[in-house]
């Protein structure tokens, strides 16, 4: 105890923080690239929606003009930002939930003994997850481009900050869930109770005015769903525009989820503890 200077961890250089974050990101990227199945499924999932679901709803005669679109569009074009958000939703939950295992047996155990504060380690883990989602999103956009889902060139750049923000929100949400709930290791239940409801009650698949026309309660559900704002933030950013309300909602949700996750994340009360391990009695 006395070997360490008292203020040791607080005086860690900024450079050290950067190295730490880069290391975690690099590890996550390597892990992602080595798991080809994961990459493929992350790509195939939105493409199936784009090629098959959107084809059925093609609306050959054009979707009415709503901002940020300046003219008539096909349904494929409308649904693309929603699918991008879906990529991030899956990725955010998947990478956060993988920490449930990591915490017990994997690298997270080792990571958490590092001198860096826990909030920073968790944030680094989130950023690593976002970086992976960026790879997936840009791969999707590249394929969608050949499917005539073309954004203005500047949109491919302006979408980046939107993706970072929405990725942070969805990743933090996953992190919070992995901290709070006991049985989240079952991904199928997450799909049923989180991913699908969030995805369907949003503006990802249909414009909100259309939802409002068919069901008012559903419209309010969509309005209160943070995922709707992530979708709209991405949609506007893809066309080089900024939607302040969406940005505000997403940023606020991201902050709330992140702070709650950091508070709730207690490695000593991990799976082992909950399942009657050495700390169970506490």
């Amino acid at each position: 105890m006395s070997f360490l200077p008292e203020t040791g961890p607080r005086r860690l250089p900024l450079r050290g923080y950067a190295v730490c974050m880069a290391g975690i990101c690099w590890r996550e990227a390597l892990r992602f690239l080595n798991q080809r199945g994961r990459f493929l499924s992350a790509l195939v999932r939105p493409l199936v929606w784009l090629f098959i679901f959107a084809a059925g709803f093609r609306s050959v005669l054009g979707v009415s003009i709503i901002p940020p679109y300046d003219t008539y569009i096909l349904y494929e074009v409308y649904v693309a930002p929603g699918l991008i958000a879906m990529i991030q939703l899956f990725n955010g939950l998947q990478s956060s939930l993988s920490m449930v295992y990591d915490r017990e047996v994997g690298a997270m155990r080792i990571l958490l003994v590092s001198p860096y504060p826990r909030w920073f380690l968790l944030l680094s883990k989130l950023v690593a997850g976002i970086c992976v989602s960026l790879l997936q999103v840009y791969a999707f956009l590249a394929i969608a481009w050949f499917w005539e889902v073309e954004a203005p060139p500047v949109g491919y750049l302006t979408i980046l900050p939107a993706l970072l923000l929405s990725g942070l929100m969805l990743g933090a949400m996953g992190l919070l869930m992995s901290s709070l709930f006991r049985q989240l290791e079952n991904f199928a239940s997450v799909m049923n109770f989180v991913i699908f409801p969030m995805f369907f009650t949003s503006s990802a698949l249909y414009p909100l005015w259309k939802v409002q026309e068919s069901s008012l309660p559903l419209y309010y559900l969509c309005r209160f769903n943070p995922f709707t704002y992530a979708v709209e933030l991405i949609r506007f950013a893809l066309y080089g525009q900024f939607d302040p309300i969406s940005a505000l909602v997403v940023a606020a949700c991201a902050a709330v989820f992140l702070i709650a996750a950091i508070i709730a994340y207690d490695p000593s009360a991990g799976l082992m503890g909950r399942r009657g391990g050495p700390d169970a009695a506490k």
């Binding site: 450079r15 050959v60 003219t71 008539y72 096909l74 060139p153 500047v154 080089g240």
Partner: protein, 328 residues
């Protein structure tokens, strides 16, 4: 230092974004759009892409064109049986011209005079001197005349009659019909290319565009259209525009909500561009950078970037927009 580097990198990125943002292709010009149901003409500024004026006109305005110098706008007020002439700068009515009954579409001789008007109810083409409003000629043609085209040298006038399904070729020297070309059902529009070596005639119900050789008035090819997922009946070609360099033709396809882009060398359709509902007539901006389409059922016009063949914007105008002309 790290912070400063991050800040400057951030500023550089923001600067780049702003620079990239301010890059859309602009074209000068104002589009005059006749709104059949509103009895108005909407004036849209093509630099700011906004509606700047709505002019009250005679009843049921349809055909619209401009004098060669772009200073005057000619408009068919179909239900008032007259042609109205507006100042393109002040938007004031300058004068009215006789037109014969129910004028629908017209074409101005390349010299700017006379004006040839199709009288839909009267089976006539009326030629009017725009200077003194005198009747130059009345030429009997087929039933329900509509489309009007004139060769670049002004020698031949072509009228299409919707019910007779013919393109009638009129010699402007004698004002006599010299040739009749049978085309597909309900021909709507006739357009010569800029060197006068091809005449394009669209058939709304037939769903085709006939390309005719004016040397012998024979059909070179009939262009037909197919859009995946769109019912064939909905493909109704109407307005036609051909670029000055003669490389591309644009054809409005009515309720298919598409403008077809045709390679004029191969006479094959290259692409279909999604625009508003029931696209009717087309007009280029003076520099031919933009093409404007009137979308009757969605009450707007769509702006097409000619070089990239992309629809960039749709702008709301009055009800049932029909014709369009763009002046500098």
């Amino acid at each position: 230092m790290t912070r400063r580097t991050t800040l400057s990198a951030g500023l550089a990125l923001a600067g780049l974004l702003v620079a990239l943002e301010a890059a859309p292709a602009l074209a000068d010009g104002r589009a005059f759009v006749s709104n059949e149901r509103d009895h108005t003409v909407s004036v849209v500024d093509l630099t700011s892409m906004t509606l700047i004026e709505t002019i009250k006109t005679g009843r049921r305005p349809r055909g619209i064109t401009a004098s060669p110098d772009g200073k005057l706008i000619y408009l068919c007020a179909s239900d008032d049986n007259r042609v109205e002439v507006y100042d393109a700068q002040t938007f004031k009515l300058v004068k009215t011209l006789r037109s014969g009954p129910d004028p629908e579409l017209f074409v101005l001789a390349p010299s700017g005079n006379p004006l040839y008007i199709a009288n839909e109810d009267d089976n006539m083409v009326t030629a009017v001197n725009v200077e003194n409003n005198e009747l130059v000629a009345e030429i009997p043609v087929g039933v329900e005349p509509e489309g009007m085209g004139v060769s670049p040298d002004g020698r031949y006038l072509v009228n299409t009659s919707e019910t007779t399904n013919m393109a009638h070729v009129i010699d402007t020297k004698t004002n006599e019909v010299v040739e009749n070309v049978l085309v597909d059902s309900r021909p709507r529009y006739a357009q010569f290319n800029h060197d006068g070596k091809q005449l394009w005639v669209s058939s709304e119900v037939g769903g085709t565009v006939a390309v005719i050789d004016p040397a012998n008035w024979k059909i070179i090819k009939k262009i037909s259209f197919a859009i995946p997922g769109v019912n064939k009946d909905a493909i109704q070609p109407v307005g036609i525009r051909i670029t000055k360099d003669g490389s591309k033709a644009f054809i409005a396809l009515g309720p298919a909500n598409r403008v077809a882009v045709v390679d004029t060398r191969t006479l094959e359709v290259e692409k279909y561009l999604l625009v508003g509902q029931r696209v009717w007539q087309l007009a280029f901006s003076p520099d031919e950078k933009l093409l404007i389409s009137t979308n009757g059922n969605s009450n707007d016009i769509s702006v097409i970037d000619v070089a990239s063949e992309k629809v960039t914007k749709s702008i709301a105008v009055g009800r049932l927009p029909w014709g369009v002309v763009v002046v500098p």
